[in-house]
């Protein structure tokens, strides 16, 4: 008897199978790393209805993931200074390939695909040189490492791509670390974070904020459909009322977000994630330390609304609205229903995997 599996195997052998795409996916709408009750870690696939569809055990704590623009495939990264990343089949949660950082490099936990999906770009630390790198991997050849380029600064963290282009935008957090000294920060008094745009392997534009903001480490990014970049920051040292969020459109000056001293202080110097609403009219930022989500009007860059939620950190954009997750296991439509997942502690980032193809 010919089984379905054999038929599929035969089709695969002849190369006649249609390539699977995100449209085939009845499965997860989000990926998120999580902490487990036994102290272990996992990567979870979460449905649009907020059910956990799979839990893939991870050897260490995860961080973020990057979704392939066409194939139902994503790459999940270890938390810094991790040296592995897993290529996941998002229909099943199976691991298809493992990326290992080259000797002398570690991942920062974020990555992004090229527009055509043939290349994966990863933020990395060249820790002997104390310089940021972008690793380039060939997604058509089982994620073979093919090259690396300078990130334009120290401590590159988040990386995104501008819509409809292969321009990369990198948050160079400015903080030097070395795996020999764990997560200890080595250069706080002299740190200089920046936002760098990279075209064809070269830094084509670089934004630095004023000197009084040099200890606000530029860490996480969101890109609107029109190509505006929101960058969220993390304060090193005492909490201040300096802005933790700014917007930038290429070729113009950055716009610092506006909120009262009390509202900035309530974020405890720390934004964990940032996302635009589907309309692009709002920008959501989360602070697990402040236990709150703040919503900014993107036209005026001013604070509009805020929501309290313990240990909130992940935020993702969906057609049905913004969704946030917390270290207490909650998945919540910002404007409504909360789904608690007992025992799981959602990690830093919630990645919407089907909405990412621009």
């Amino acid at each position: 008897m010919t089984t379905r599996r054999q038929v599929l195997a035969g089709l695969l052998a002849t190369g006649l199978t249609p390539r699977p795409s995100w449209a085939d996916l009845g499965g997860p709408a989000f990926l998120s790393a999580a902490g487990l009750p036994d102290g272990g870690y996992a990567l979870c696939g979460i449905s649009a209805a907020h059910d956990v569809l799979f839990r893939l055990p991870l050897p260490t704590r995860g961080h973020a993931a990057a979704a392939h623009p066409t194939r139902p495939e994503a790459v999940a990264f270890a938390r810094r200074p991790g040296t592995f990343a897993l290529v996941i089949d998002c229909r099943t949660g199976d691991v298809r390939a493992t990326l290992n950082a080259p000797t002398g490099r570690h991942f920062y936990g974020h990555g992004v695909f090229s527009q055509d999906g043939t290349r994966l770009y990863t933020t990395e630390n060249d820790f002997e040189a104390g310089e940021g790198r972008i690793g380039i991997w060939d997604a058509t050849q089982n994620y073979r490492r093919i090259a690396e380029i300078p990130s334009g600064g120290i401590g590159p963290h988040d990386i995104k791509r501008l819509p409809g282009k292969d321009t990369l935008v990198v948050a160079n957090g400015g903080i030097e670390t070395h795996p020999d000294s764990g997560r200890s920060k080595l250069n706080l008094p002299t740190m200089r974070p920046n936002l760098s745009y990279i075209d064809q392997g070269e830094v084509s534009e670089q934004i630095e904020l004023t000197a009084d903001l040099h200890k606000n480490s530029i860490r996480h990014l969101a890109v609107s459909a029109s190509g505006e970049v929101a960058f969220a920051m993390q304060r090193q040292g005492d909490i201040t009322d300096l802005p933790l969020l700014a917007l930038h459109k290429r070729g113009t000056a950055p716009r610092l977000a506006q909120a009262t001293s009390t509202d900035w202080r309530a974020m405890r110097g720390y934004i964990g994630s940032v996302a635009f609403s589907t309309s692009g009219l709002q920008l959501a930022v989360t602070s697990p330390r402040g236990g709150r989500v703040q919503l900014f009007d993107t036209q005026t860059a001013t604070l509009q609304d805020q929501v309290q939620m313990a240990d909130v950190c992940g935020v993702a954009t969906t057609r049905d609205g913004l969704v946030v997750t917390s270290g207490t296991g909650a998945i919540r439509f910002l404007s409504g229903r909360t789904t608690p997942v007992p025992g799981l502690r959602w990690d830093n980032h919630l990645v919407a995997i089907r909405e990412s193809s621009t």
Partner: protein
Amino acid sequence: MRLIVLLLALMPLAALADTRQIVDTQILPGVTQLAERAETLHKTARQNCTPSMPLKDAYSTAFDAWVTISHLRFGPTETDDRAFALAFWPDSRGATPKALSKLISQSDPIAQTAQGYRDVSIAARGFYALEFLLYDPAFTDAGKPEYRCQLIQTMTADIALTTRAIAQDWHGSYATKLIDPSADGPYRTDQEVTQELFKALSTGLQFTSETRLGRPLGTFDKPRPLRAEARRSDRSLRHVELSLSALQSLALALASDAPELQGTLDQRFTKALEVAGRIQDPSFAGVADPASRLRVEALQSAVEAIRLTVGLDLASHLGVSAGFNALDGD
């Protein structure tokens, strides 16, 4: 049933730090001692700027006072980057010797006054920069003797000014802000104060384990003895011991209303200090030698054991452990 509900309602959610006791017995005496000893260091340098015993002694005494409060990284130490101006370390790219070489080779007149010296690279200020001029043969003979002397006198004056500013701010108003939090102060509630003190303890332990010990240890295949803190003056191990003693006092105070936890913490600190006491390698020069490396690794494990108790038990006692993400920092 009603009684249970009532009892639960009366129980505090989490313990709060006895802030006043910590301020009065640890912080204020600590910053005062630092300012006084830094003043003595400066006076000594003015009398005799040669890198010999009286100056080295005064340097050592003042540096001890800094290390003893170096975990209190909030408020007065952070204003104008004062803590970094006293302690630019780790210096992963060698910025301190580079900045000093430049000053000395040009006999840069910026070193004429302490006020002017505030504008030099922060890497050329403070105890770690001064160590090069007092202990490193590449600097004790570099450039003109008069310039070296002036540089030492100006650096000690700068240290004295910085430490005095820290002490004045603590005594002036910051102690009150910590003891009596208010809506318009840096701390709105006692819980936020407790969190700050807990953070000082946990990041202090992290710094001692990962940086003071972790940097020279490197990896087994690639030990890094030249990265040890203040190795030129043979102070690397001493800094671990001084910081552990100071952190022990803070940890015990934070656990003052939980005798059992306090006992466990005391045991762990005492154990780590014992392990440190058995090491006969003041600058961790032996981290490349398997036998002496083992002793430094044992010390790091003992500090990690403290971190575990602090991160789990003390955090949960103080109610600061809620955040899987809040504590992550990434």
